[in-house]
């Protein structure tokens, strides 16, 4: 089980634990049987709904109970409810799953249930001020708040990031992408190692550049500044080097490649055993050879690569076979 320490119990302690669990098991199985038998008999009553609440509070991973709960809402409860009541019910569902998420941040079923709730918020309230999307907007805004909290608790939770992208793409009133760019800046500045935030940044920037909302070359220069700062802060952090590789791309721009190679070389001079400096230098020098070989002293660049690869084999022996293969391709 992920992250749970193995504890050796004495036979007596184990027997006591089993005894304690016996009544819990009996209670849980009785509840589970009741839920499943009501589900089998297509009982869509409020009583059945409350039973699913009880069992899901004990076991939020019980996928069939979540499915059954939604079926009760759709078939038993919504048909006799006004739009206001449906909105209230779904808001209540979202509150209940927020509690469940805090203790179970990586349970697919809980995130799924939230999506379903959001997608079923009815039109309303219909007042002049809020129009037909008022309830929806209120719920989606709160959802972004919940996602922020989840990512504050674990900034790498990929379910929360995926859910964040889903929310951003589906909100009735879209947030500007520049706001999301600012969010990733905040996350990265809090922790350079947060590759999830760098990844998100690469997606947002691609979109902003493609739409012309940000001027490509100026914005890219700012990214180089940001990533350079991070590289100098911790040259061993993969996240930063991967992002740098994305900024460089296929290496069509010779001047840019040479400038970045010089900067990394400076850093390597300061940190002579930096694997990531060497690894990146090999990659960018190979790009030079592949894209611009006629414009440079290919023999000397190739020799640089060979020298760096033999150093890499020493400081990073786990991956030496990869370095061998790269050398063969030179």
């Amino acid at each position: 089980m992920h992250g749970v320490k193995r504890v050796r119990l004495t036979p007596e302690a184990l027997a006591a634990k089993k005894l304690r669990e016996q009544s819990k098991i009996k209670e849980y199985l009785a509840l589970s049987d009741e839920v499943l038998s009501k589900k089998a008999s297509k009982d869509w009553s409020r009583e059945a709904f409350d039973l699913t609440t009880r069992i899901l509070q004990v076991n939020p991973e019980f996928s069939a109970a979540w499915n059954y709960r939604r079926n009760i809402l759709i078939r038993g409860i919504f048909p006799g409810s006004s739009a206001t009541e449906i909105n209230d019910l779904l808001t209540e569902e979202l509150t209940m799953t927020t509690v469940a998420l805090k203790s179970h941040p990586k349970v697919y079923w809980i995130w799924n249930h939230r999506r379903w709730c959001l997608e079923n918020i009815p039109d309303g309230p219909g007042t002049e001020g809020e129009g037909v999307n008022g309830w929806r907007q209120t719920n989606w805004e709160r959802e972004m708040f919940v996602v922020d909290k989840m990512l504050d608790a674990d900034s790498r939770n990929f379910m929360a990031w995926d859910y964040r992208r889903y929310c951003l793409a589906s909100m009735p009133v879209a947030r500007p992408e520049t706001a999301e760019l600012t969010y990733t800046t905040r996350k990265i500045e809090a922790n350079f190692s947060n590759f999830s935030a760098w990844h998100q940044r690469s997606k947002i920037l691609s979109s902003l550049w493609a739409s012309g909302k940000l001027e490509h070359s100026k914005s890219k220069e700012e990214e180089f500044k940001l990533v350079r700062n991070a590289m100098y802060t911790d040259p061993n952090d993969q996240s930063v080097w991967m992002y740098h590789r994305w900024l460089i791309g296929a290496g069509e721009d010779k001047e840019l490649l040479e400038r970045e190679i010089a900067i990394i070389q400076d850093l390597l001079d300061e940190q002579p055993d930096s694997k990531w400096c060497m690894e990146s230098l090999v990659h960018y020098k190979r790009l030079l050879l592949q894209k611009h070989s006629s414009l440079l002293d290919a023999g000397s660049v190739t020799n640089d690569c060979r020298r760096l690869l033999s150093e890499l084999r020493v400081i990073d022996p786990a991956r030496r076979r990869r370095y061998d293969e790269i050398e063969k391709q030179l």
Partner: protein, 329 residues
């Protein structure tokens, strides 16, 4: 008595798996009923890879699978009375193929259930509630292939979605826009392998990303700057095997890491040394060791995550390359 953790404690792991079904006095057993059929697949496959195919009662397992049939949906639920899902449907098919008992199911009906879960974008949903994920695309491709029904699949549409999940680091995510994650890399690469579309993989970039999953303690992580975990041994290694790049990491150090995560008293393997074991990590630990050529183990097909001879006998073998099996010293 603690045993030597430098070797795979096969006998202990076999008895650990055999005893799982008898743990009904354990609350955790009941709280994980929603994973039961998957757990049986993990257990059965680990037993076959350890060379103990007889360790579970085959007829009992098959009867249990039949009791998980969801007549309304046309697929298999994780447990009797629960709901059909594409993931547990694949587990049922994999176990039945492993036991050579596929004749026990209504193949056209199950194929229809799987096909019905494809969305217009090309991705698959897990069930009728509509959660989509590239995991489910792989599951659909794997299951239809095992059922001999791949001709019913819209392959271009399936590949097209997976392609859009590829990131600049060569890896793949759960959905379009998602961060690369080694479990998603496995499912996307294996699906493309089954569909003969590995041309969609940037093997050098992805090979680099995969090789960088290895940490100084030998274990593999699932994403940059994360902790190691035994289950990534399989997710990362399977993709490396399919791309013929297993040699790009230190296999000895990874082998030691997996072995050090064994419970040397009661059997089973955990996510990392000293943690509580479970059948999921036991299966993926053993699967990883098989890919690494650990002596005495049976070959694992990394594409289907099943015994290689069974996949080969069905004519489904793809061009993967595990490390050569070593001999006991």
């Amino acid at each position: 008595m603690a045993r030597d953790e430098r070797e795979l404690l096969t006998a202990l792991h076999v008895s650990y798996i055999q005893n799982l079904g008898k743990s009904t006095d354990d609350l955790a057993y009941h709280l994980t009923a929603h994973l039961r059929l998957n757990a049986i697949y993990w257990g059965v496959t680990a037993l076959f890879i350890m060379g103990h195919p007889e360790a579970l009662d085959k007829d009992e397992v098959i009867r249990f699978i039949e009791s998980c049939w969801d007549e309304e949906a046309g697929g298999f639920a994780p447990h009797p009375g629960h709901d059909a899902h594409i993931s547990t449907t694949l587990s049922a098919i994999q176990i039945l193929v492993t036991y050579d008992a596929l004749d026990r199911i209504d193949v056209p009906r199950v194929a229809k259930f799987i096909i019905s879960l494809q969305h217009p974008s090309g991705v698959f949903a897990g069930d009728s509630w509509g959660e989509t994920d590239t995991r489910f695309s792989y599951i659909a491709v794997n299951a239809l292939s095992l059922l001999g029904c791949l001709d019913q699949l819209d392959k271009d549409k399936t590949v097209d979605y997976i392609k859009q999940c590829r990131n600049f680091d060569g890896g793949f995510g759960r959905c379009i826009g998602a961060e690369s994650h080694s479990a998603q890399v496995f499912v996307c690469v294996a699906a493309l392998a089954i569909l003969d579309r590995l041309d969609e993989v940037d093997a050098d970039t992805l090979g680099w990303w995969l090789a960088e999953r290895q940490l100084p303690n030998g274990g593999l992580n699932g994403r940059p700057e994360k902790l190691e975990d035994v289950c990534y041994s399989f997710w990362v290694l399977s993709a490396m095997s399919i791309l013929n790049k297993v040699a790009w990491i230190d296999s000895e150090k990874l082998t030691s890491f997996i072995l050090s995560s064994q419970d040397t008293e009661k059997g089973g393997i955990s996510d990392r040394p000293g943690n509580v074991v479970d059948v999921f990590h036991t299966h993926f630990g053993v699967a990883g060791l098989s890919i690494l050529g650990y002596p005495g183990l049976v070959d694992l097909d990394p594409v289907y995550c099943m015994p290689a001879t069974i996949i080969e006998a069905k004519g489904l073998k793809k061009g993967w390359k595990n490390l050569e099996r070593r001999q006991f010293k």
